[in-house]
Amino acid sequence: MKFGIVVNEGPYQHQASDSAYLFAKAAIAGGHEVWRVFFYHDGVNNASKLTEPPQDDRHIVNRWAKLAEEHKVDLVVCVAAALRRGIKEENLAQGFRISGLGQLVEAGIKCDRLVTFGD
């Protein structure tokens, strides 16, 4: 089954990104495909390569990037939400791309299920 995931909240502030990541990992382990993760609202902050958590904490940004690389997950950051919050190509972490809201709608159309994580 093809899953789309929406992440609406920033990392470290709200559990949404953690829940979404663990859901994505479990979906892939279960033989499903995670076709796209769409980062919206404050969720765009999951894509900043300037993120530096303390060493004993999980690295939420790199964790998404690694999942994307290993399992060909399309990580899309909403352009309007990103620009409002200072996320641009120059500070975009590896594995993410910036694009429009059409990518969210497309995920809704193409995926068998769309699961939203937020506040």
Binding site: V6, Y40, H41, A80, A81, G100, L101, G102, L104, V105, E106, G108, I109, K110, L114, T116, G118
Partner: protein, 121 residues
């Protein structure tokens, strides 16, 4: 894209306090541009999004409420408001800035069950 799905946007949050109401409108318009079947549902504090007479000058924020009236121009005509949410807030249909269909909670729930994609804001 020839596939057509039933998209419902569930709005349960008041405007201005958080960004969600505004962002919901953005996705609604894009979804309609993709020729999908679009419905908007307003429940709980989401019904406040449709309240007439919003004046945002004093908070220096864009008043996006006229956009609900413009939806018709994009062939977005399925606006549903839950009756119980209106009643709980002392709001009547005449207080709303756009024509809506008022549904009971059971009717609203049944409509949700018919959807292919439900996005919550």
């Amino acid at each position: 894209m020839s596939e057509m799905k039933k998209f419902m946007f569930v709005n349960r949050k008041a405007p201005y306090g958080t960004i969600y109401a505004l962002e919901s409108l953005e996705v609604v318009l894009i979804t309609a541009a993709f020729d999908q079947d679009v419905s908007l549902a307003f429940l709980d504090d989401g019904v406040y999004q449709l309240k007439k007479g919003q004046q945002t000058k004093g908070i220096e924020t864009k008043n996006f409420s006229p956009a609900y009236r413009a939806l018709e121009g994009y062939d977005i005509e399925k606006l549903y408001v839950e009756k119980e949410s209106l009643e709980a807030r002392g709001i009547v249909e005449e207080d709303l800035l756009v024509d809506v269909t008022v549904l009971t909670r059971a009717e609203m729930g049944a409509l949700m069950d018919e959807q292919d994609v439900v996005l919550s804001f």
